[in-house]
Symmetry: C3
Subunit: 156 residues, 3 copies
């Protein structure tokens, strides 16, 4: 790891930090900018379709979270530079959602990992190229609804 590598690592750490904070603040247009235009989004374990492209994710997520209060916390990223313009990382995560009153579920809580790849685009900005969310446990209203016997690994 060189001092120059640290600039890339810090840029990626703050990139993902913006992902978390802008989502919870519902600043969707700014949030979308953390993704490469040709990104892949794999939250399929949560029942979402595999999404291709920033615009597809921009179109998909905000309506789902309309009226939902969200908190997304990310922890202890292990960030590895894989080339001058490419990197990958694993983030530990926890999220909490509170749904609008009157629905069939009130609260979702989950923990797991983001397994991700990044690319430094031609404008010099690092962005998320691949996002893959894999869960250790998800609870809805205090009841476990997902929890595999073996913990998720990057290749899953």
């Amino acid at each position: 790891m060189s001092p120059e590598d640290l600039v890339a690592i810090e840029s990626i750490r703050q990139l993902k930090a913006r992902y978390f904070q802008l989502m919870d603040q519902k600043r969707w247009d700014e949030w979308a900018q953390v993704f490469c235009v040709d990104c892949t989004i794999d939250s399929t374990q949560d029942g979402a379709p595999l999404l291709h492209g920033r615009q597809a994710f921009r179109d998909f997520l905000p309506p789902i979270l309309e009226g939902v209060k969200t908190v997304h916390h990310g922890h202890t990223p292990v960030i590895e530079l894989t080339g001058p313009d490419t990197a990958k990382a694993t983030w530990s995560m926890e999220d909490m959602l509170w749904f609008p009153p009157g629905g069939e579920r009130q609260h979702l809580w989950g923990v797991g990992f983001y397994f991700e790849k990044y690319r430094k685009d031609s404008d010099g900005e690092w962005r998320i190229l691949e996002l893959k969310l894999r869960r250790i446990r998800v609870e809805v209203d205090g009841v476990e609804v997902f929890g595999p016997d073996t913990p998720p690994r990057p290749e899953d």
Copy 2:
């Protein structure tokens, strides 16, 4: 972001880390040193008065937390240098308080953001110049007591 910028960013990250840990360890004199002498503390959303100056906060907080066990966790800071000696950041946060037995409330739990400004003082140390705490949700004994319909943003 230059390699030199990283020193400032890391200094600010560890500054806020000391804020969290020294508070929970109740090392109040060391804790007070993370603030500029002329800081502003805005936890008004939690019912506290707007405080001006390090000494005012040093006088205000420790008595309130006497006998209270606290845990403060900070996450994914987005830190931006705004000048050679100035910076701002948003931190995601979660806190937990356990009050002394026999009171009317046992436990407080909250999530939200710290919106902050920093200054590098003439002694070369970065300190917190403005602290503003804005909540997404607060629960007392498991019941929501605060939760705005729209999430907090830095300008709030």
Copy 3:
């Protein structure tokens, strides 16, 4: 703090991040590599024996966590370089364990601090030389089972 110091700090931050993630992924052989061969492990507050040496911890922990789902989150490390090849840090932490069905306890949740020392070994890799876990609070199945009146400090 110099730009060169940042490489050591980032290396230690990612070292501990691997500790957390590899444990929760149960990648035990890779996990063991984050420790110095002559490390000391003090989780005595949790009832574990004081362990000397990487192999002793490698032998001790995995059988205990067989069939247990774990989540370990680390926060806001205050990392201090104490020499060219030595460092210390305090990490805030939270962990959650879910035990196999049918046992006498289902869930453990805890918060506290890791007080640690690190050494850069002769192969140039930073590793954990001393790990000391001290708790603020531990709950089993929602009931407090540990919670000292005074918060833990590094010297405890």
